[in-house]
């Protein structure tokens, strides 16, 4: 499991929004999609996925709808709302700023000081 990265606190919501933004998904699908787009590097603790989904729905960022799964079972599908899309944009921008700032800081050498 050495290739797995630690999930940073507060990033789960952002990842869920990203995953759902690509295509409407059911809960298990969200788990698979995050694993896929992180190239198997991120493993979401299954128990904390659903409370996060419920919280995002409660905040009006996700909408839900019952649909049919790939193997023809009834499943609850999550889609991004307008507010969710806006939030995703803000979080992405914020994340990118943070990442570049931290990597700039971390790559600094003693000569540059």
């Amino acid at each position: 499991m050495s290739k797995n990265a630690e999930l940073l606190p507060g990033t789960l919501d952002m990842l869920i929004l990203k995953a759902v933004s690509l295509k409407p998904l059911h809960g298990y699908g969200v788990l698979l999609r995050i694993r896929q787009i992180s190239r198997d590097a991120l493993e979401i603790p299954q128990g904390s996925l659903y409370p996060a989904l419920y919280r995002l729905e409660h905040q009006g960022l996700l909408a839900t709808d019952w649909g049919e799964s790939e193997n023809h079972r009834r499943a609850k599908y999550y889609t991004l709302t307008a507010a969710g899309r806006r939030r995703l944009r803000e979080e992405t921008a914020g994340w990118n700023r943070l990442v570049s700032a931290i990597s700039a800081a971390m790559n600094t050498t003693s000569e540059e000081v």
């Binding site: 788990l31 299954q46 128990g47 409370p51 419920y54 919280r55 009006g60 019952w66 799964s69 609850k76």
Partner: protein, 883 residues
């Protein structure tokens, strides 16, 4: 924010759908995962186990999801409510005791408070009622008083013309009977006389027509009348033609100039109003008018008082200073509401005080019962603490239980209050309250709710505080739960509530004794077998003395002919009724010669004393020979003889120069007119033959008093009232009787206020007694429950059941006895305020105190013995086995 509220509401409203959806979603996840694991080669059983394991505790996840939705608070509240409900249901004795106590206390309070609110707090139903008022007189000096002022004609003219700060009006004091000829029959109605601007002061405009003008209100102006809406509708069929036409009232034509709007009330509430036309003659020669005033815009009460005192300093008659040397007289305006309710204020305040005592008693009960419950629950609290509950959680649980109880008690209490208010209002005679109707209004409900919450806080605090002190180890290891301290506190609470109960019991006992005294006062005549009919003689036809004589003589003669009738007579007033008063009757000779005295003056026909069986003491009664042209004669009563003849035989002495005293009769009980000593007294009275009264006095007296036809029968006579009406119609077919009464009705009417006070206070004392009994019962019952083990061991060791009963019952009896002593001491001080309401009984009445002590002893014994009956059922063997 809005989205969150909506999502929470959706989850709350379709909770079942939310839960089902959540379960299905999670199961779908696990199934999918399992499938994926199987596909990757994991054996089926192993796959299911691993999927569930990796997912984590499904309950925890569900709980986290609910919390994410904001449902947690509601779930907890619901759980706590359910738990509290279960606790309360599991303890029906405690729960019903608390709810009953709360309901009775709150119910009694809100009913009483509704009445007090209507009487003392609510303003009268007029526009800007706070600017309306009436006039009071304040006289200082040895015979000082402070009371509502009645005006004579001179004062009225000065008030009207010289007090610009006020719009002033006068009216008669109350209504009097009058006959209205409507079509073929004559109707008896209640009429009042009012001055111009009276309706302006009230802010009332007629629905049709107009108010009385100043011209119509001058003496000897043409007759005019204003009708109430109900009279116009019921008698004149709401015909618009009524306005401007004349009606035949009191035998004379009156032109109708106005009709009041529907539902309009006045302080008089008459069927019909005529112009008072007050001058200095006739009714204006005496203080027969009542003032009602309204402050003009921009003026102040101080200005009005100053102008009033200046205006009335111009008076020629200063009767207040008669027999009162060195006195000072001043006048002042009093707000209408205060004046209208002044008479009922002491009673209303007494009742309110009683209601507060009831509330205190209830609180003591609740605190006691809750304390015991808390002590009994100490092991439960300790267990929950040991299992990790925080003290705050446990306290919260107590608060929720108490809030539930308080709300239930408050709700039931509102029902009780509504019913009690209905009952109280039914108890009151009509027109007893100066306000039209009393609803259980919003302020009262707010008050009730506040009381309910306050009580909850008060008695909920004790166990909540006690929870902080529960010691884990000792509570769990020992089954002996109640400490000695709490037992003492309980007994103190019981003693306190018993003391308050004793005060209430004593107060109502004294009032009952006082009422019995008044009701059993020797009436001075024989009230049994007498029936009375009243009619209005305020009619031009009877202003002629000859016409009146004919009516009285022939109608009484016809009534004597009715089979079974022994005697019949007419009097202008009767025992148990106010009589006309003469303010300045001169005693011409005898020991008090020259004195002018105030006395009742009763006009009667021959046979009056015989029909009522008022015993004659000396001399003779009136006969047919005492006619208009014979020597003018009078019969005086015993009090008059005692007060003004000091043991000298009054026969042969004269009043008013030529009024010869020919007899002395016993006193009869009357409401005070001259000296307000008691609700019924025997005060000085002079009886005059109806036939010797001059025409002017008669018409004046008949404007205020409706004479009574008195008929005495040997036994019940079938259809007597019909026969009496026929006898009257035989003489005057257009004169209606206004009603028929037994003497007991008149007595009850006079004592109505006392009777109501006794009923109300008696009911509240009974309520207090009931609450105290519940308190004592709960105390002893709890002791029995607590000591079952100990008693069992004692019984096994040879103690008798009696010994055990005495031992557990002792604290209840002891607390009650202590309460009795405290209550008597408290009552000795507090009940002094009752003194003015008591007649014929002192506040230190041994009989009342004895009755209170015996009642309390009986109730205490019952409340103590009933729970101790359980002791006999304790099985010593079972107790020993348990050990």
């Amino acid at each position: 924010m809005l989205a969150r509220v909506r999502s929470l509401l959706r989850a709350l409203l379709s909770r079942r759908r939310f839960e089902a959806g959540m379960t299905e979603e999670l199961r779908f996840h696990i199934d999918q995962y399992t499938e994926d694991l199987v596909r990757s080669g994991v054996p089926v059983e192993e796959a299911g186990r691993r999927a569930r394991l990796e997912f984590g505790g499904i309950n925890t996840v569900e709980e986290d999801c609910r919390e994410a939705r904001g449902l947690k608070v509601f779930d907890e509240a619901r759980r706590e409510l359910r738990y509290a409900g279960r606790q309360l249901r599991g303890n029906p004795g405690f729960t019903s005791a608390v709810i009953l106590t709360l309901a009775l206390a709150i119910g009694a309070n809100s009913a009483i408070f509704s009445i007090v609110n209507a009487l003392l707090l609510k303003s009268p139903p007029y526009v800007h009622a706070e600017r309306m008022g009436t006039i009071y007189t304040r006289v200082t000096g040895p015979r000082g008083y402070d009371a509502r002022h009645n005006l004579d004609g001179e004062q009225w003219e000065l008030l009207r013309d010289h007090v610009p700060a006020l719009i002033s009006a006068v009216s008669t004091r109350g209504t009097s009977g009058a006959n209205l000829e409507a079509g073929s029959h004559v109707q008896f109605l209640h009429a009042a006389r009012i001055s111009a601007h009276y309706l302006d002061v009230l802010g009332l405009q007629p629905a049709l027509g107009r108010n009385f003008s100043e011209d119509e209100d001058r003496p000897h102006a043409p007759n005019s009348a204003i009708l109430s809406y109900s009279l116009w509708r019921n008698v004149f069929g709401s015909s618009p033609d009524t306005l401007g036409h004349s009606i035949l009232l009191k035998g004379e034509p009156y032109s109708v100039i106005g009709i009041l709007p529907e539902g309009a009330t006045t302080p008089l509430n008459a069927d019909l109003y005529t112009a008072i036309q007050a001058g200095r003659e006739g009714a204006g020669a005496g203080t027969n008018f009542e003032a009602i005033i309204r402050l003009r815009d921009g003026a102040t009460w101080q200005e009005a008082d100053a102008e009033l005192n200046r205006a009335w300093s111009l008076r020629t008659g200063r009767y207040e200073l008669k027999d009162n040397p060195g006195a000072q007289v001043s006048f002042y305006c009093v707000p209408l509401q205060k004046a209208e309710t002044a008479q009922l204020r002491p009673q209303a305040l007494t009742l309110m005080l009683a209601a507060i005592l009831i509330l205190l008693i209830a609180c003591a009960n609740l605190a006691g019962v809750t304390l015991v419950r808390m002590m009994r629950r100490a092991p439960e609290v300790a267990t929950r603490l040991a299992l990790g509950a925080t003290r705050w959680q446990i306290q919260k649980q107590f608060w929720i239980e108490n809030l539930l109880l308080a709300l239930a008690g408050g709700a039931v209490g509102m029902g009780v209050g509504w019913a009690a208010l209905r009952g109280l209002l039914l108890l009151l005679p009509e027109h007893f309250l100066p306000v039209a109707r009393i609803p259980l209004d919003g302020r009262v409900l707010a008050f009730t709710l506040a009381v309910s919450l306050f009580t909850s806080v008060l008695f909920g605090m004790l166990p909540a505080l006690a929870a902080r002190k529960v010691d884990l180890r000792s509570s769990m290891s020992s089954r002996a739960v109640a400490g000695a301290g709490s037992q003492t506190l309980r007994e103190a609470l019981i003693a306190g509530e018993v003391a308050l109960t004793v005060v209430l019991l004593t107060a109502s006992g004294l009032l009952i004794r006082s009422l019995i005294h008044l009701e059993t006062l020797p009436p001075g005549f024989n009230p049994n077998g007498v029936i009375v009919a009243k009619a209005s003689l305020d009619d031009v036809r009877f202003h002629d003395p000859a016409g009146l004589r004919k009516l009285l003589e022939e109608s009484t003669a016809a009534m004597r002919q009715i089979p079974g009738v022994q005697n019949a007579a007419v009097g202008i007033s009767l025992p148990f009724e106010r009589a006309p008063i003469s303010g300045d009757l001169t005693i011409s000779d005898g020991p008090a010669a020259g004195r002018q005295v105030e006395t009742d003056m009763v006009f009667v026909t021959p046979g009056y004393f015989e029909a009522l069986q008022i015993p004659g003491l000396v001399g003779r009664s009136f006969t047919e020979r005492d006619g208009p042209d014979a020597q003018r004669v009078a019969v005086i009563n015993q009090t008059f003889a005692r007060k003004f003849f000091y043991g000298v035989n009054p026969l042969g002495h004269y009043l008013e120069k030529n009024l010869l005293i020919v007899g002395v009769v016993a006193d009869v009980a009357v409401p005070p007119g001259v000296d307000a000593a008691a609700p019924l007294t025997g005060e000085q009275a002079v009886y005059i033959p109806y036939r010797q009264v001059d025409a002017q006095t008669l018409s004046l007296a008949h404007a205020w008093f409706q004479p009574s036809w008195v008929v005495r029968t040997a036994g019940p006579v079938e259809g007597l009232t019909g026969e009496m009406q026929r006898a009257l119609a035989g003489v005057d077919p257009t004169l209606p009787f206004s009603g028929f009464y037994a003497m007991r009705d008149l007595q009850a009417k006079t004592l109505a206020a006392q009777r109501i006070e006794v009923a109300l206070l008696g009911a509240m004392a009974a309520l207090a007694l009931l609450l105290s009994a519940v308190g004592i019962f709960a105390l002893v019952a709890n002791l029995v429950a607590q000591r079952t083990r100990e008693i069992g061991i004692r019984l096994a060791l040879g103690a008798t059941v009696q010994n055990a009963v005495v031992q557990v019952g002792r604290p209840g009896v002891g607390a009650s006895a202590l309460g009795l002593v405290l209550g008597l001491i408290l009552g000795a001080g507090a009940l002094r305020v009752l003194r003015s309401a008591l007649y014929g009984v002192d506040i230190y009445d041994p009989l009342t105190i004895l009755a209170v002590a015996l009642t309390l002893a009986a109730v205490t014994l019952v409340a103590t013995i009933v729970p101790t009956l359980k002791v006999a059922r304790i099985d010593p063997a079972a107790t020993l086995r348990e050990e």
